[in-house]
Subunit: 250 residues, 2 copies
DNA sequence: CGGAACGTTGACTGTCATCAATCTCTGTGG
DNA sequence: CCACAGAGATTGATGACAGTCAACGTTCCG
């Protein structure tokens, strides 16, 4: 288990995006030597991880986590999604009340100490590079999320989010993506800064409009990825950031 | 000029924050060897920098820039503020239309190629570490910004933002912070995802309420930092992320 | 079978974006 | 020094949209 793997299998997306050519497809594989140092952790769905020491680094091997905080009066805010391959250290989190990670699915993590590699310069080099690339890509995702939150109407916002999650967790076939949502409605609402009620209304509208379809409570299908990317610029960027990495990892 | 310096002078903030203890105060100084490799760039206010190659890295030496994109139909979205000391590479930006940096003030940048250090392992080590720490801290700021956008009412959002900018660019004295805003109203609005009209109303309300005061068009004073931090949890985190780094830099 | 968590829907309210008009600064040229 | 122009900032009226509260339905669990 040297490579981080996606929580579910993924086939190659067959859709063309108009991503800027400058963008990197993925990052190099996490070297195995990390395995020797890290402590494997298994966390279960809904489990919460608080940051004990700032020296610790978490590597997501499988599953899905979110960074959570209590920003407002009592409202929980989900700030960031952590996918397999992501490296996360407390330094990347703001010092908000109730900051911590919450597992959305059963997860496998590696926990290691940032100072663990200082003897081995070669290893430090590789690992720092890996961390830098991971952190860069997470920053790009955060920027995309800000763009989604700020400049998209709520309906499009939800559609773009579902696309991201489906690209990461689901399977692509013939211009459709589908996945089982590991987040509940109120989780999604807390991430997209919507009300759960409003989110429910929006998803009903999206279904009526034919943008998405649902099976049961959690299975969700984005009907036409191509159309979504044409209509919404953010979705093309989502493809570039999420689908290509998926390609790399598989 | 080895160290990045703040655009304007900064005295030590005299206000206590309840930042979480785990949080790092700053990052180590950028080593001088970067100077040898980098190309110094001077950009003027309002000038736009597009990303030519993904191999390039920009280090902000002085001034203030923003990351900008055209996310929605025609609306410009300001995604991220870049302060002195920040390292920014195109990999940290999402592949959105019209992505680029815009100088809010006259700026000094160093531009270097990511692959420039590969011969010198010692240098690579230090620089990668610096980049990793910078990127981490930028990620934390992005998360804080998301929290601000998502879970604060617009009035508080503006106040929290003004606090951040004043802590970075202004001077602290006796529980007050003041600075000259380098951003126009519509810049601020585009960053906080508000309408410029609404922003104007909000600032009027903040003035009436005594939270802030203004002198002329751009000079802005946050009246009671302590009170703001007590009322708004995000502001305490803002102090932790921005005031302490200011301390470090000065 | 019952209960709890989750999801949906409706009526109402508050907030923010929009559009348009007016006002205030700032710099320029006479 | 003043007049002017143009950008930027404010203010008002209005409509669209999302949050709130409450009730009801559904699914999943013991």
């Amino acid at each position: 288990m040297a490579l981080p793997q996606a929580g579910m299998t993924a086939s190659a997306p067959s859709v063309q995006t108009n991503a800027l050519p400058m963008h990197r497809a993925g990052r190099p594989a996490l070297p195995e030597l990390l395995e020797g140092h890290g402590i494997a952790m298994k966390v279960r769905r809904r489990q919460r991880i608080t940051f004990a020491s700032s020296d610790q680094i978490y590597v997501v091997q499988s599953g899905l986590l979110v960074l959570s905080a209590n920003a407002g009066s009592d409202r929980r805010q989900l700030l960031c999604l952590l996918y397999p391959g992501d490296v996360f250290s407390p330094a990347q989190a703001p010092p908000l009340d109730g900051i911590g990670m919450i597992a959305m699915t059963d997860c496998e993590l590696s926990r290691l100490r940032a100072s663990a590699f200082e003897q081995d310069q070669e290893a430090t080099l590789l690992i720092n590079r890996y961390i830098a690339e991971s952190t860069s890509s997470m920053h790009a995702r955060a920027m995309l999320h800000i763009a989604r939150l700020s400049s998209l109407p709520s309906e499009t916002r939800v559609a773009a989010f579902l696309l991201e999650l489906a690209l990461r967790l689901g399977r692509v076939s013939n211009d459709q993506v589908s996945c089982d949502l590991p987040l509940s409605r109120s989780d999604i609402a807390d991430y997209l800064s919507l009300n759960a009620d409003t989110l429910s209304r929006i998803m009903t509208r999206l279904k009526e409009r034919g943008t998405i379809a649902t099976i049961g409570r959690s299975r969700t299908i984005v009907k036409s990825v191509k159309k979504l990317c044409q209509d919404v610029p953010v979705c093309a960027a989502t493809m570039a950031l999420h689908a290509q990495q998926q390609l790399e990892a598989s």
